[in-house]
């Protein structure tokens, strides 16, 4: 009886399922099926031709010993932490500068501030390469102006990650500024007025009203920035090709090299699985932290 009425409710909503179906169909073909298939492949050796040859956990075991993969993991973790420490505070700063009610030309400021996000990493990566160049780069020339020695930004194992971080921060901060600014617009201005009457200064207002009101959006920013950071590819690919050595190599870059340069498709799939596992753990940890902190039960 109940099953029957459920079927009837589903049948009555058939049009709605049709409305939401394109995403789920595309997801099934281009994400879910590949996810299962690459789990299978990660236990095989395959060069794309012929049949995959089963090798058990050999790919994963090889990754455990692979120094280059370890370096890619360390580098990507560095990019992630650097992004969290730089992008979110910077985006909050710029968004709160823009939020000042007396600010003139807000629209023009916003248009210009969003320009880095519009410009492609590939194109702008090339000019950053000139900026950080050892011999003729603008940064080393500026250092020279202060009587300092030139720094091998792109060609030293210790420093090569920094230009990658600078390029990435430069390009993605406007995106998070836009999200946080949109969130600030939704805060009730009376909260600020009441706080001002009570004698709170700008600092108090920021930490007592802005930050708590933005908590769900900040959480959203943390999660998406984390996911994007672990997926970093273009910036090191263009700036340093992952080098020198593998000192700026990212996980996705190593996956790309294994899959599309060396045709070690089983190994590439195993790397993809390690990446997926990392992201699920990071996302789950952040979700857990959010629930504990604010008791929020709803993300949507």
């Amino acid at each position: 009886m109940r099953a029957h009425s459920l079927l009837r409710r589903i049948w009555r909503a058939r049009q709605l399922y049709l409305f939401i179906s394109p995403f789920f169909i595309l997801f099934a073909i281009f994400q879910f099926l590949p996810l299962l298939w690459s789990l299978y492949l990660s236990f095989h050796e395959w060069n794309g031709l012929g049949d995959p040859e089963p090798v058990g956990v050999a790919n994963y075991r090889a990754l455990l010993r692979d120094q280059m993969f370890h370096e890619a993991l360390r580098n990507t973790t560095f990019y992630w932490i650097a992004n969290l420490l730089l992008v979110i505070p910077l985006a909050l700063l710029v968004a709160s500068l823009l939020y000042n009610p007396w600010l003139k030309g807000r629209r023009a400021w916003r248009t210009v501030l969003f320009v880095p996000y519009v410009t492609a990493s590939v194109a702008i990566g090339l000019i950053f390469k000139m900026l950080f160049d050892f011999n003729s780069g603008l940064i080393n020339m500026a250092l020279g102006g202060f009587g300092l020695d030139p720094v091998p930004w792109l060609t030293s194992v210790e420093l090569s990650k920094l230009p990658v971080v600078v390029l990435n921060v430069w390009r993605v901060t406007p995106w998070f500024t836009l999200i946080l600014f949109s969130g600030m617009l939704a805060i009730n201005p009376e909260l600020y007025e009441a706080a001002t009457v009570d004698g709170a200064n700008a600092f108090d207002r920021f930490f007592r009203i802005t930050i708590p009101s933005l908590a769900p959006i900040l959480f959203f920013c943390f999660v998406t920035l984390s996911i994007d950071s672990f997926r970093i590819f273009t910036e090191p690919y263009i700036l340093t090709q992952g080098g020198p050595g593998s000192s700026s190599l990212s996980i996705v870059q190593y996956l790309y090299v294994n899959g599309f340069r060396l045709f070690k498709l089983g190994m590439a799939s195993a790397i993809g699985y390690v990446l997926t596992a990392i992201l699920l753990v990071v996302s789950a940890a952040q979700l857990y932290a959010l629930r504990r902190q604010s008791g929020l039960s709803e993300v949507g």
């Binding site: 807000r106 590939v122 836009l178 590439a268």
Partner: protein, 280 residues
């Protein structure tokens, strides 16, 4: 007293100064890139001469057009970005509408699943995705860049947030007048949420134009490259290293059309690009 306070406030000047510095940092690399692309290849770059070309020239643009079929590459980028944007704006708003305004069995579970998919990195399954695209015969075909992300989870999430505030009474009235669900969406919801569609469309267009990873994998010949892939192979072409001003002329060509589209689209948005009712 009040009027004068507005003018002399040192705090306000600090805010303007800080904003100006950040804006300078935001546009400087772009302006410098354009400046170098206008420099004759042999022009010295010692001292502060690096900043501005002494004898601006367009020869680098002619040279870069001889290295790659950039007109064709630009057309590819435009086709991918435009058709992908139209598809994603339509499909995401339609799905967002269904999630925001209706109750149906399994709705919450499906929505949670949709949110969960955002945490799975698409790059992880790139090897099988390539095999699937190859099975479809889409390697070196622009469809490979348009179809897989024609509807995105984040787009549906955003559209649902925005459409949630659409008044239910209007829908009830339309239903009494005999309108079907799709007609309600097409004739009533779409016009009201047009600003959100424009904002989302702008962001979707930017993301597709600038995409690098997927075209790098799927596009295998110079004619089928998008601009981003074309620019990435510029530094070394035919085994020779290309002079910097020529490379940067190519990079400038890949960025300017999108910037122009961005500035034009901005004019249509009253408050500038915003994510509307972004409630998180």
């Amino acid at each position: 007293m009040m009027a004068r306070r507005g003018r002399l406030h040192p705090e306000r000047w600090a805010v303007y100064l800080l904003l100006a510095l950040i804006c300078l940092a935001a546009v400087f690399p772009l302006l410098w890139m354009i400046s170098i692309s206008l420099k004759p290849v042999g022009e010295g770059s010692a001292g502060w001469n690096v900043l501005l070309p002494r004898a601006p020239t367009l020869t680098n643009y002619v040279a870069v057009a001889g290295l790659l079929p950039l007109g064709r590459n630009m057309l590819n980028s435009f086709v991918v970005a435009a058709s992908g944007t139209v598809a994603t704006v339509f499909l995401c708003s339609l799905a967002g509408f269904a999630f925001a305004k209706y109750e149906f069995p399994g709705k919450n579970a499906l929505f949670l699943l949709l949110l969960g998919t955002m945490m799975v990195p698409p790059e992880a399954g790139v090897v099988p995705v390539f095999a699937i695209i190859r099975a479809f015969g889409w390697v070196n075909n622009l469809l490979a860049l348009i179809v897989p992300n024609a509807a995105t989870a984040i787009g549906i999430f955003y559209m649902r947030q925005y459409i949630a505030s659409f008044p239910r009474e209007i829908m009830e009235q339309a239903r009494l007048d005999g309108a079907g669900e799709f007609r309600i969406y097409w004739q009533m919801v779409i016009p009201v949420v047009a600003p959100a569609l424009a904002a989302w469309g702008t962001l979707a267009f930017i993301a597709r134009w600038n995409d690098f990873f997927w075209p790098l994998i799927f596009m295998r010949s110079k004619e089928m490259y998008t601009l981003m892939v074309a620019v990435s192979v510029l530094p070394v072409s035919e085994g020779l290293s290309t002079p910097w001003p020529v490379i940067l002329a190519g990079a400038t060509l890949s960025v300017l059309p999108l910037l122009a589209i961005y500035f034009v689209l901005q004019q249509f948005q009253k408050e500038g690009l915003a994510l509307g009712a972004m409630k998180g």
